[in-house]
Symmetry: D2
Subunit: 279 residues, 4 copies
Amino acid sequence: MNHCAPIPDVQGSLDGRHIAIDKVGIKNIRHPIRIRDKSEGIQHTIAVFNMYVGLPHNFKGTHMSRFVEILNRDEREISVESFGPMLRMMVERLEAKSGHLEMSFPYFIAKAAPVSGVRSLMDYEVSFIGIIAGDGRHDFTLKVVVPVTSLCPCSKEISAYGAHNQRSHVTVTATLNQHMWIEEIVQIVEDLASCEVYGLLKRPDEKFVTERAYDNPKFVEDMVRDVAAVLNAEPRIDAYIVESENFESIHNHSAYALIERDKRKLEARPEASITASPW
Amino acid sequence: MNHCAPIPDVQGSLDGRHIAIDKVGIKNIRHPIRIRDKSEGIQHTIAVFNMYVGLPHNFKGTHMSRFVEILNRDEREISVESFGPMLRMMVERLEAKSGHLEMSFPYFIAKAAPVSGVRSLMDYEVSFIGIIAGDGRHDFTLKVVVPVTSLCPCSKEISAYGAHNQRSHVTVTATLNQHMWIEEIVQIVEDLASCEVYGLLKRPDEKFVTERAYDNPKFVEDMVRDVAAVLNAEPRIDAYIVESENFESIHNHSAYALIERDKRKLEARPEASITASPW
Amino acid sequence: MNHCAPIPDVQGSLDGRHIAIDKVGIKNIRHPIRIRDKSEGIQHTIAVFNMYVGLPHNFKGTHMSRFVEILNRDEREISVESFGPMLRMMVERLEAKSGHLEMSFPYFIAKAAPVSGVRSLMDYEVSFIGIIAGDGRHDFTLKVVVPVTSLCPCSKEISAYGAHNQRSHVTVTATLNQHMWIEEIVQIVEDLASCEVYGLLKRPDEKFVTERAYDNPKFVEDMVRDVAAVLNAEPRIDAYIVESENFESIHNHSAYALIERDKRKLEARPEASITASPW
Amino acid sequence: MNHCAPIPDVQGSLDGRHIAIDKVGIKNIRHPIRIRDKSEGIQHTIAVFNMYVGLPHNFKGTHMSRFVEILNRDEREISVESFGPMLRMMVERLEAKSGHLEMSFPYFIAKAAPVSGVRSLMDYEVSFIGIIAGDGRHDFTLKVVVPVTSLCPCSKEISAYGAHNQRSHVTVTATLNQHMWIEEIVQIVEDLASCEVYGLLKRPDEKFVTERAYDNPKFVEDMVRDVAAVLNAEPRIDAYIVESENFESIHNHSAYALIERDKRKLEARPEASITASPW
């Protein structure tokens, strides 16, 4: 029974508006995936996918069902090793020159509490973003949202006792030229925060994290600068954005900071020259 | 030009399934409103409305457009005085016995910082919920989400210095038998929190709120109990739910507590009798 | 190294406010789970947990860390068979009389497209809600959000051609007295919708679903009534809420309907008597 | 009473990490505003603000409270005429070289239904984004999300009757060199959609919009191309992004397309040259 033959292929016809489309495809489709895990081997989780290709000016439309076919191609779960091949297959099967594949998922790391050593899982929001540009360049970007505690240096300095602190989200979006583990990005951020956060803390742990945060105050500006300094020195990272959003405990709004850098660009950053100055 | 006449009224036909519908109508429609303000007279804001009626078993459908007509009936902005009349008009125009009208909006209160006195607006999420039950009973419920600072008593007690604190949302949902101002609910909660939060704080204010929170630690359990004690004693409140959600600064999850009470129910609460016990 | 001994147990002290707390615990904590699947055996997914107990009036606080310990007790993933035992363990370990355990997760079903038979996964949002009431009663409630197509009967009837249609969410919240599969709830809803939705459709499938929806128009009222009729007749269901929200394609708001019924309550529903009337 | 004098200004001290911060400030703060309206003169609404400045490498921190002071400077509501002055004041008062001011708000337009002429409000999500770059360049960008109906040409073509349709969000983000009304952007999009959407439709209107959408099918690709063609020809627009997201009625995911263009860049777009070809 061939229903397809007599059904016209509307999307495949020619288009006369002479306007290329930068991205066209499907957005917000969920699928189970399987991720390699630095310590456990494998973890199962659920990703939201965005899948787009560039469409040349002379094609009327893309074939949306092919994106979903690629997602459902093999076994039930998509393994992380398939990410690169999926991106290439997407560009090829959609007869495109450029493509954009994004998958976002909760990722879990087993952590030991700092004093009692009790173990629990912590969840991080992670995205993989793969791009094949029109000029053939490939980019892989890893984005990790790391929840931490931030404690305000000003509040500590000016108050007779106590200091306001809060949960913050530090987000690193790093374009890589070699493999980096999600765990490596998480550790860079957690080591630099006022304190890292945990799923499970017993009383001695709670004492520890309270005192550690108080001993280690950081402005939102400090947080992004300290992370940026490490990312600057990391040769596996070509470009990055680091953001921190502090959900202030004394306000109903956030404090926020962002540093962005692309090491591949030749122009010197303003501060580079100033660095050499007598400052 | 009468387009309506020949167009069949599908919704008005009879239904044979013998199943009444508890709520039917429109959800998530936005409209500008005008609220009476305890200090300023009037404030303009934007509400999201849910508008439902009960549908007897023998009617096939309700007339969705009539709900939207009621919203757009008069002038551009709906005044808060229209809330009760709108609910009654909705039930009447939809030929229903019961109705449910809900509007949720951000509400602003001008606050003075505790030391410097600098003024700024704080935003609160407020809902009005009006119900006409099938038995003719009318209920008006006011819901207010109050952001506050909470500081953990355990963390303070066990730590040599500092204490973890965070933003919390304390939500009061109060069924009223007389008018209460939004500002009255807000003040009950803010007076009982570890500290209230502000839009604008100068350094001396930040010192003040840091020390005040440290002097005034509260568990999530304390917060809901202290608010419940005040609501218990408030004769204008017939029934309430009080919730607190603390967005923990040392975890990636919330601490949460809820107390619910309907004073109109005759049955004694279990703890009432225990209160008289030797405990 | 025993840090715990000298650290005071603030939460365990007595409380003099004489106010019991209905629910206290942790909210919005994510954890991987493993679900039994009607066809595949096992599927791995990620759940958001809310875990609460009732707290008698004379205890100052609950022990928040015990909730997280229960989550992290065994192996990495929580299996669905653990849900009941977890609820009982929670009540026992927190020395409570009542408890409330909720886990919400995306669930996937492999579906075959109606004509081409191509297979793809569809995602559904599912919750398990387990309650142990203060009187010892146990309740298990299954909630499933089923995305479907709804096509408007009025639009079809009054228009020379076409009919507006849209994605709708039909939500069934069913308190069960025996096991039911998630797949059974999904099928009840999908069979009654204007048309079910799929991840992957080829052109002949798209023709099929377009025509099927047009042949099968349903108001939001029809949808909830048709589902209610099936749930009324299902002996494994003690009580239910069925809702439909249509994200109208011709408006920027939703059409919505809800039917709620508890078969365990003795009082006859109003329409029951009317059913016997000459109507 | 001068509390400020003895309190150290931690933020004002020097920083030795030699890393400038691209954006630092406050995020997600709500404030009432007053917008000029093409037809009504003035409308009151509520905005969410993000306010950032660039921080040179040698300053430790910015003064967060100054952002909130600027918001609360004058009268209660911020008028739209203040947007430019606010951005300049922010950069000046924070002693910065660059600044980024963003406000997002629901905006209402009174529309007449196409046949009955009944009037109702439609809500649109609007953002103003003002940027002062480090090189002194000023940019003003207007972003408008326009909800419309999209009807699938393929579904119409291949089906004996009916066609799937759904609500779509068409988002135009336009960098302007002269004033444009929000209403002008809305009209460009609504004129090009399968059909525009309305708050209130009577039965003859519902017949009209059903038939109009069926007569006017558009792929997500058509939608962004047709809008792009108008934006290309509009001399008041220097650069734009146009996106369409269709919340597919036959799937549980979206179809999506995006076209981006900066007319100020000299390089010819690939299609420009092809335009001159024999195609």
